[in-house]
Amino acid sequence: MEKAGSVPSKPGNPLWLLAEVTYKCPLHCVFCYNPIDYTRYGEELTTDDWLRVLRQGRELGATQLGFSGGEPLMRDDLEIMVTEARKLGYYSNLITSGIGLSEKRIAAFKEGGLDHIQLSFQDSTREMNDFLSSTKTFELKQKVAKLIKQYDYPMVLNCVLHRHNIDHVQQILEMAEAMNAEYVELANTQYYGWAYVNREQLLPTREQLKRAEEVTNKFRERVGNKMKIFFVVPDYYEERPKACMNGWGALFLTVTSDGLALPCHEARQLPGLTFPNVRDHDLGWIWYDSPGFNAYRGDSWMKEPCRSCPEKVKDFGGCRCQAYMLTGDATNTDPVCGLSPLHHLVTEVVDQAQLPVSPKAEVKPILFRDDKNSRALSKTPA
């Protein structure tokens, strides 16, 4: 038998700082990965709080910085943060739906030294796009795409795929090409937050996935290197889990709009863990010493089959949040893994998705992410 090796329990420095600067968002995506009870969370960090977080992150050695949310453009001090980020030596990425990106703002970002913008599109056709984000935004995004080019940013498009738009992959790619996109990420929905609530309605069929991949491959052949296309399958269709966050507390440090420091943006839902707030602690202590960040480092927390599995050094037993959401215990093997004794929890959902119309979907309407729904969901204990 192969020997199982071990996952290092001592972390290196964080490389990625993800600043979820606000949970506010003008869109209402059904696949949004924000917490469903976001309306419950406290006040947003101030500009000074953020500048302190950026400084401390840099001191720890983080080089990549992501501004996300919510919609980060909802913060009118984003320009200040961007400028500071550049001064500190970050490579900064803005992850945006594009709503609120005026020429004035993009000029200020360029001037401040923002390195990269990732624009998310819900779909290529106006109707679909509006349905999925539930606002009239498509034309606006095309304008934004032009601005991005004009200010010499690489055009990086991200489109979240699911049952209702995955058949449009050809149109999506054509649109991307027409916009001279350099990178296109076709990322299937991951089932967290709002997407988890809407899982039955969003999971594509195996057939849909296969077709979409074929279309993508053909397209790739034709456009060659001028447009790089990434296709991410939903992990429910995999036999092995993703190496979530490259290991717990290994590379990524997320700070939420209300100041919570997390090893991954979904982690706040995990029971029994308390995560530190950047208002009370510095990032150094948070990263190296806080119990929350140490909870699933190494492998001593693992149960079987992960504990003695040789693949644990590669996938770290998968995603803690997914293990918790699907099995009720975050220390279980991620049930996406074919070796998990609870793998059927995933295959049952996948089997269900193969039916022409998911019967559950008929009775359960799709839930748009908005404040009203969030408040309603906050009341029912998860």
Partner: protein, 97 residues
């Protein structure tokens, strides 16, 4: 982007658009930053990359390195490294304008 057109001693390379090269105090080493990623450039790779400035020719880079590290035959290493990173699309021949 990563077409491996052969280059000569007279080629002038520059960093790919949107790539940034810098010294990382926390890691005591040079790194190359790009959209959503980073590579560390330890030892001689950092020294070579440092000289890819859109001005020096390949020959110039080799000469400069030879001055900085006398007594070492670096040409093969430099050519190999340039070929590698050019193939990866991290650097490109200097564009006109």
């Amino acid at each position: 982007m990563s077409e491996t057109t052969p280059f000569t001693d007279d080629t002038v390379f520059e960093l790919q658009r949107h790539f940034r090269f810098q010294w990382e105090p926390a890691q005591q080493g040079f790194v190359l930053l790009y959209p959503e990623g980073m590579v560390k450039l330890p030892g001689s790779s950092g020294e070579i990359m440092k000289r890819i400035d859109g001005k020096l020719t390949v020959r110039g880079i080799i000469e400069d390195l030879q001055t900085a590290f006398p007594g070492m035959d670096l040409k093969g290493d430099v050519m190999g490294f340039l070929e590698h990173v050019h193939g990866k699309g991290w650097i490109r021949p200097k564009q006109a304008g």
